[in-house]
Amino acid sequence: MATKQAHAEAARAERSEELLSPSELFHARSRSHKIPVRGQKEFLPTGSEQQKTHLQKSLQEHWTLVAEERVERLGNLVNAEWIPEEKLVKLQSPAGKFWQTMGFSHCGKQCLLPEEALYLMECGNVQVFYQDLPLSIQEGYERFLSPETVTLHQYQVFGHLKRLGYVVNRFDPRQNKQLKRKRSHSPGSRSCEKQTSIPQEDTAVGPCEDVLTGEPHQTIQSKKEQDEPMDSGSHVDRAPERNWWTAASSQSRSMTGLPAALPWDFRLISFPDLGSSRAARTCLAAPDPELLPGALQVGECKMASWLTKLNLKEEKLSRRERERQRERDRYKRSVNDDREVRRCTNWAEYLELMKKRRRQRCKERPAHLWEKDVTPLSQPGLCTSHRELLEEVSIIQSSHLLEEASKLPQLDQWRIIFNVYQPDTVADFKKSHPGNPYTRMCVCSFDGPVPDLRVMKQLSFQSADIPVTFAVVDHGDISFYCFKEFKLPSDFY
């Protein structure tokens, strides 16, 4: 029992040790605000008197700084209350300058997140009460920091960045997904958004025969085109609708809301015939209004009138030009002279023809290379550029960081916790429109695992365009690392 009492007394004595008397409080205003500079360190302890006095002096300075307590004018302090049920701190008096970059309004009251409140407590700007008693910094650390709010390591990173002047706020993964949808402008994704409207328009427009494939097309054509007066000659060939891009992409509707890759179906891209005798009767279809800016409307284009305006004047060449022309004619053939080329009706067929010709050129293949089980990946002459050749011989396809990142499941141990904005934007910073952050922070420690590719893919995907920085906390020291994507060049000039 005696020891228990002694304990209690000692504890009480210890507790009141750190409370300042009123006179100490009053005279704190004349305390120095300077921090003594630390001198150079020495290499070997020699036990000399000089070293001992230096050490004592350094230590004494150190203890003075460490033991100093925070004393503030009551008028400069903003009062607040800790609400553990909501894990928030509600302000009871109006906020000061810090309101420009920290805090938020909730149900009419000004609130602070726990890490913001704790930082402001450490700066001596805010006094937080709980059940009518002021919280000490220690109690702030113990009550505000938890895995549900912000851990100690994360708070250390927060404090470090705030002290350097950055604006730091919490990252909300839900915000980003909205931004993505607003950003996409490509026609493919717009048709994805218009998914619900397509079936309605289909019923209004009759099917239009595709000359090439003979299949009925889904058209997203406005009614206006149908109402256009037809040419007197009903034999006008209607060029097939130019909507190979929309048809293809609407077939590959993806559910993620990301702009889908546009697979162009080359079978559907046809060449309008404008040069032959039948050209006068051709009629170019109107472009898809989706591709036109604003309310611009372009109707069909009848070629007859245009063709009459071509080739009206005879070209008079100078003698030198005529000579050059002769040279060209002797050695160069027009591509269209080739009967096989004329037989091609679209790009795909043309490319096939070229490929076939190239292969025929390299018909002689050495037996020791081509007759065995393992054959070369490519032949000389088959490829026309370095990039093609590298693609032919590549075994591992190169990828990019965000490929298939959306399909990865959510992570539990790794999460982006903060958005960090540059210090020089503080003057114009608006909490309602913060703009894009400079970087996003993910906090880890040297004891934990190194982030692997999967983690990096997921975090980069969550972060959209903003680079992710990893803050590694080791016993008070913080190091920052970030990974940058790099593509090996594949074409050489």
């Binding site: 000692a10 040790e17 290499f43 700084l65 390591h153 080791d474």
Partner: protein, 317 residues
Amino acid sequence: MDCERPAEDHGTRQNGGAGEGGEAAGAESEGDRERSREPRVNISLVGGTPLLWRAGDIRRVREEDGVVGALVGSLARQPRQNVRLGRPLEILQEEASLLLERGRAAVQHTHNQEDEESHVKAVEAYQSRLEHSYEEQCVLALEDKKAVLQRVMNAKQNDHTCDEGTEQAMRERLSSLQKGFTLPRSAMAVQLCTARAGFGHCPEEAAFLAADWPMPRDERSETRFRVYRDLRGRGFYLTAAGKFGGDYLVYPGDPLRFHAHFIALCLSMVEQLPLCDVLAVARLGSNVKKTVLLCSPRDSGVEGEVVYSSLQWSGMV
């Protein structure tokens, strides 16, 4: 290894009587009973990390146990800079384990339950303390202002520049000050406590449970702890060395004044270290001009010795 025992060791020697290694035993000896009467250092746990909050505790553990730690909070004098930080002091898991083992520290429990009555009393105590402080500060402020005025008067008298009129005016000001001066409440100075204050949310009797260390020790932390204890016992100061790719930075004297000599890596005797890791750490050590120490505790017994090997980069000349 040639090293000198710093004077700090005498503190524990006086109390213990036994050698450094024998203190771990929980035997009831004269030293133990004496030590148990000493006020123990409070370790506060936040998310598994041990922190020290009281300036007195931080000083004691450095002077008597050679525990250096790292300050991780804002400095009270200048909170908006990162060059010099303030309380709390974050200590290594091994340092906390050693302090608990020696009975020098105890983990502070945060009791949230508190009966209505003692809470009401605590609030009353706080309010009365605040009032008392305000009254005292009013008096002090008045004294301060009178002293300033007096000094001005004396200065004027010494200069012989004033006449009856101004002297009278000054005396009038002095008396009006005496009667009418009040310190506005907003000008009162208030303390924002760093460590848990006397009137607080924890009950009168804090629970000191020395054996209640929440961290389970796996093989790796056991190895680290043994190496720490051995190096500390030899008088070296140790801090964390994550930035240097090792486990500890070993200083021959107080880190405030001396550079570190070694980077210690803790490995178990049977652990296999790939050669490229050895090369990497040796290269790092030579770049920062510190010797790399590979430390392994010998398995023989609980108090087994630790084997050290140092890496030196050399060439065939």
